[in-house]
């Protein structure tokens, strides 16, 4: 409960800080301090040091897994603000409001990592999504940003409608929002057959959740929205929010895979393969790096869907590691991308000569995204594949995933090739000393996690 309460209160405080402090950098400092406080209180709750307890009537349950995942996402937001705070300040005059909205998104994420019923799932998804619609349209002078915000808003509302329809069907079947009673109660005739209403409700929920995590065939909004939104907020949306969506997705279907019977595995593997296919193949043909990253985020979502497919302990460890690796690498690469003026591949030509440090850390981020050994991305992908093998009987899915991972190497290496092996004079803003230090630290952290993935996973158990 700590994180939910503190993020809401700190969000309000940040909102008002805009009145008292006219200097934008002060507001960024306040945001960083707020995020630190949020991180500390969430950790404190995880270890039972300090916890505000509210009787939630079993609507929220704070598990170790959820709280740990929440800590990771808050830490990722902290890194994001530290690296890209300057760009948030430059996006518009409403800096304080944007930080407040980011805090509200974190409030939604804290609910999503603890929900224990469909009602809280809905509230969490909405609290997470509505601020995002606004952040997408943050650059008000830019027509593309406006279009992206409107598109995201309309499509998002529609998918929320589908989700509500699913919740209504499940509620109609069981008379309860409770996840557990939804799963275990036998039909009213007294026999244990899967209820048609429940199954239909869960299929609709599945579609809506696929939309939220941009899994194919519900991914069509992603490239336009990620491309149109200001780059800083794309970085936020593509990493932290998507990871939270995956947590909710997996938690929702953790105990009810049996409900949908054998068709469940077919459904998930179809969506996984479609997502990998749509993401990777389309990313190959992109000219703009930002758009390529949007498609690559779809492709990465395909890998995270493997955790949904296998649904075992290894998948749970894997999704933690994947969230860490994916968030660090994507936030880091976006932080480099923002500093470069031209987002096409040509814009990166010769970056290694001009800014060797930026180019080097960008290379490590890209290697991690591609899943090359000795980077965090390798073990993230490894755990996903291992969990599928452990669940048994789906070797073809593993082989398909590996093949698509090989395809992804092509478009990630195209950027590296542009930076190191092509001549050019890119327009780039070198950034402050703190920014460069942080970037190197982030790259070092990726290599460290890549060498010793247990340093992340051990925190899960101790």
């Amino acid at each position: 409960m700590n994180a939910i309460i503190f993020s809401a209160v700190l969000g309000v405080l940040l909102m008002f800080s805009g009145i008292f402090f006219s200097k934008k950098s002060t507001i960024t400092v306040i945001a960083v301090v707020s995020l630190l406080i949020l991180f500390i209180v969430n950790i404190a709750e995880n270890y039972g040091l300090f916890a505000i307890t509210v009787d939630t009537k079993n609507l929220l349950s704070f598990s170790r897994f959820g709280l740990f995942f929440n800590s990771i996402l808050i830490a990722a937001t902290l890194i994001f603000v530290l690296l890209s705070g300057k760009e948030i300040e430059n996006t518009s005059v409403n800096t304080a409001e944007y930080y407040a909205l980011i805090m509200f998104v974190l409030c939604g994420i804290s609910i999503l990592t603890a929900f224990n019923g469909l009602l809280m799932l809905f509230l969490g998804i909405e609290i997470m999504s509505i601020p995002l619609y606004i952040l997408t349209g943050a650059d008000k002078r830019n027509l593309k940003s406006n279009e992206a915000a409107l598109k995201y808003f309309l499509m998002g509302s529609f998918s929320t409608g589908i989700m509500l329809m699913g919740i209504a069907l499940v509620y109609g079947a069981t008379g309860s929002f409770d996840l557990v009673s939804v799963m275990n109660k036998p039909g009213s005739a007294g026999v244990e057959i899967p209820s048609f209403l429940k199954s239909a409700g869960y299929i609709l929920l599945f579609a809506a959740m696929c939309f939220k995590v941009s899994a194919a065939p519900f991914h069509f909004w992603t490239p336009d929205v990620y491309d149109g939104a200001p780059s800083v907020f794309t970085s936020f949306m593509a990493t932290i929010v998507k990871a939270a969506g995956f947590f909710a997705f997996i938690h929702l279907f953790e105990s009810n895979a049996a409900l949908l019977g054998p068709s469940w595995k077919i459904l998930v593997s179809f969506v996984t393969v479609a997502t990998l296919l749509a993401g990777n193949i389309t990313a190959v043909f992109q000219q703009s790096i930002k758009r390529m990253l949007a498609y690559s985020s779809i492709a990465q979502a395909g890998f995270m869907l493997l955790a949904l497919f296998s649904n075992n302990d290894l998948a749970r460890e894997g999704i933690i590691l994947y969230a860490v690796a994916y968030c660090m690498a994507t936030i880091g690469f976006f932080a480099v991308l923002i500093k470069v003026k031209d987002y096409t591949f040509e814009g990166f030509n010769g970056l290694a000569k001009k800014e060797p440090l930026l180019a080097f850390s960008a290379t490590i981020f890209l290697l991690s995204l591609a899943g090359i050994p000795l980077t965090a991305g390798f073990f993230a992908k490894y755990y996903m594949l291992a969990s599928v093998i452990k669940s048994g009987g789906a070797l073809w899915l593993v082989i398909t995933a590996v093949l698509f991972a090989a395809v992804s190497v092509y478009y990630y290496f195209k950027v590296i090739q542009a930076m190191y092996f092509k001549e050019g004079n890119p327009e780039v803003n070198a950034g402050s000393a703190m920014y460069r230090t942080l970037l190197v630290l982030l790259a070092a952290a990726i290599v460290l996690v890549g060498a010793l993935p247990s340093i992340v996973l051990n925190w899960f158990y101790f």
Binding site: I4, A8, G11, V12, M15, V54, T56, K57, L59, L60, S92, V93, N94, E97, Y98, A100, L101, F104, C107, G108, I111, L119, M120, L123, E126, I127, I130, P131, Y133, I134, G137, A138, K140, R141, G172, A173, G187, S188, A189, I193, S195, F196, L197, A200, I203
Partner: protein, 167 residues
């Protein structure tokens, strides 16, 4: 057939007919007006279920506030046939196929499902929709989501101000 059953079937037919008319009306203003008819029919159903509070709220919020907003937006945008975006033929076919599949699933659902066969709605008996009971449930069992939804409204308000304000 009792009066209530006659009312029920009348309202159901009205709701379905109006809903179809929303979709097939060429003029968007007509669509909105038919949608208001749908809301009235659904409110009638709520009253049959003895949920007066829900019925009134449905009328005030949906048929009243939101539909007026819809009408304003449509009239301000001045839509006509020329400005309507062209849709591909295959998009329409894809829409019909997927929509038809979904309809089939829902129909078979209603026919086969165990929970709702042989049950009718608690007409005139249920009292869960009365404002007293609703308030009790809202402030005892569902007080946490009730309070948390304030964050949702706050962020929506912040967004409206941020987007609406001149830079």
């Amino acid at each position: 057939m009792s009066t209530i059953q006659i009312l029920f079937f009348f309202l159901s037919v009205l709701a379905i007919f109006s809903a179809i008319m929303v979709l097939i009306s060429k003029n968007p203003v007509h669509s909105v007006l038919w949608l208001i008819a749908v809301f009235f029919a659904i409110s009638g159903h709520y009253i049959l279920l003895n949920a007066q509070f829900l019925a009134i709220v449905n009328l005030i919020v949906y048929a009243g506030a939101i539909m007026v907003l819809f009408l304003f937006v449509i009239m301000l945008m001045n839509l006509n046939a020329d400005s309507e975006p062209r849709k591909h033929q295959w998009m329409k076919i894809a829409g019909v196929i997927s929509g038809g599949c979904f309809l089939m699933v829902l129909i078979s659902l209603v026919r086969q499902t165990v929970e709702i066969t042989g049950k009718t709605a608690l007409v005139k008996e249920g009292n869960i929709g009365l404002i007293k009971n609703l308030g009790k449930v809202l402030f005892s069992d569902f007080v946490v989501p009730f309070e948390i939804s304030s964050v949702l409204f706050l962020s929506a308000m912040v967004g409206a101000v941020v987007i609406g304000k001149k830079d």
